[in-house]
């Protein structure tokens, strides 16, 4: 199994509080991604990173920020959590980047279930 650890695995928080989710990898993969999974929507890309301090927005980036200060860590922050951000969050890693003939497999963490009350 790919070495990807997400923490925490479960979190309950209140509306308006900041929340940070962590993704840690031991594979030295260049690309890291944060997705959210909601019923009826599949997985939607929030942000991704293509190297240390190099990040970009995905399909549903509003209300989220990310940071990558080391190859192995990719942090997702909800500055002020809202109930619409209740979801399951998955981190993924890959050797190659986006689109076209990129053919490397994505490996996923176990997910973080976040509830915003």
């Amino acid at each position: 199994d790919a070495g990807i650890t997400q923490s925490p695995r479960h979190k309950v928080t209140e509306t308006g509080t900041p929340v940070t989710l962590r993704c840690h990898q031991t594979e030295n993969h260049r690309y890291m991604y944060w997705y959210r999974q909601d019923p009826g929507h599949g997985l939607r890309l929030i942000h991704y990173s293509y190297g240390v301090k190099d990040t970009d927005k995905g399909e549903v980036s509003d209300g989220y920020s990310v940071s990558r200060s080391k190859t192995e860590d990719f942090l997702l922050t909800l500055e002020s959590a809202t109930s619409s951000q209740t979801s399951v969050y998955f981190c993924a890693i890959s050797d190659s980047g986006l689109g076209g003939l990129a053919k490397n497999i994505q490996y996923f963490g176990a997910g973080t279930r976040l509830s915003v009350l």
Partner: protein, 109 residues
């Protein structure tokens, strides 16, 4: 714009039946890879199979087979002799970009 469509929301089959999952990928790209991932009830996402767009020949890997029809941009993924352990949500995805909404497969013993 690129779009992935998995029109089958839920499928139920009886064990040992064959089942085909459909995925249509609309894109202006002419060459690309498409991926299938499986999410069993335990929740983890696992890579299953990768297929390119420039080879229409069927591929077979164990009980899985894979067919691409260029004329319709349709990727069909078939599980032969389904088993209860195949019960999961199956996602179709272009490389590292976005996912289809998934097809929930239930295999009834």
């Amino acid at each position: 714009a690129q779009k992935v469509t998995q029109a089958q929301t839920e499928i139920s089959v009886v064990e040992k039946e064959d089942v085909t999952l459909d995925c249509v990928y609309e894109t202006r790209d002419t060459t690309y890879y498409l991926f299938w991932y499986k999410q069993p009830p335990s929740g983890e996402l696992v890579f299953l199979i990768r297929r390119n767009s420039f080879d229409e020949q069927n591929e077979i890997s164990g009980r899985y087979s894979w067919n691409f029809q260029k004329s319709t941009s349709s990727f069909n993924f078939t599980i032969t002799a389904s088993q209860v352990v195949d019960s999961a949500v199956y996602f179709c995805a272009p490389p590292n970009l976005f996912f289809g909404t998934g097809t929930r497969l239930t295999v009834i013993p």
